[in-house]
Symmetry: C2
Subunit: 117 residues, 2 copies
DNA sequence: CTATTGCATTGACAACCATCGTTTCAATAG
DNA sequence: CTATTGAAACGATGGTTGTCAATGCAATAG
């Protein structure tokens, strides 16, 4: 994430003049921003953030039935949240018999994490 | 962010038994999750994320009129986005003369950044 | 001082998307 | 067969995102 904009001088000007010239914004930036915003948006719910937290701790895999009692929401709602995290590319699941085991995809949070720090 | 849950064993069980016992979830965790999710939510839009990026780069202050030409949205819409970032405690503004200068509040992203990495 | 110009915020509104529960269903195990 | 897990479908509610119009302020012009 590097922008390098040519910002107009922030000095006082007489009224009647334009404030600043338009600046082109690189498209690459826009794509990166779109990706990172999608991840951030998926994390923008306390339940989903806690879900990711639990899944990251238990690096292996956690079955959905173990997640349900942690939150005061119904099982279908939890399933819905997991589906959103999966759609955002943050987690994935693996079905073994009756149970579905979720895990955080390695590196899924790297881009955002790197940009933030 | 430390959860320390007592997860039930992920072994196969005969049908007819409950999958796992309910587990208490620490309230402290919940508050942290709520705070970080609020920040993530504010960053969950490409425009807002790029706004934060630009403001972080120009650590000083950038006037709104310089931000407008960077995005293909109207000025009021940009103002709304800035308002959301301010409501989330990520940025603040300072008015000098005609212009409003925005800056990222130091440390505003630290908690989320630390949890992510 | 008053009028005018320009920057930024705020409000109202339409269109869209998210959240959540209830119900339903496919798949699996006994 | 029955019981269980987890996901999909539906609808009700509420929140986002965007525009335009109106307002609040600062600074210059007369």
């Amino acid at each position: 994430m590097s922008v390098d904009l040519q910002l107009a001088p922030k000095t006082k000007r007489p009224a009647g003049e334009r404030c600043c010239d338009p600046v082109v914004y690189p498209d690459v930036e826009r794509e990166q921003a779109r990706r990172m915003a999608a991840v951030a948006k998926a994390l923008g719910d306390p339940i989903r953030l806690q879900l990711v937290d639990v899944l990251r701790k238990h690096a292996g895999k956690v079955c959905v039935c173990e997640l349900v009692p942690l939150f005061e929401i119904s099982q279908p709602t939890l399933s819905h949240h997991l589906g959103k995290l999966r759609a955002a590319g943050i987690v994935d699941s693996e079905r073994r018999g009756l149970w579905a085991y979720y895990y955080v995809i390695p590196g899924a949070l790297e881009e955002l994490s790197g940009w933030l720090s």
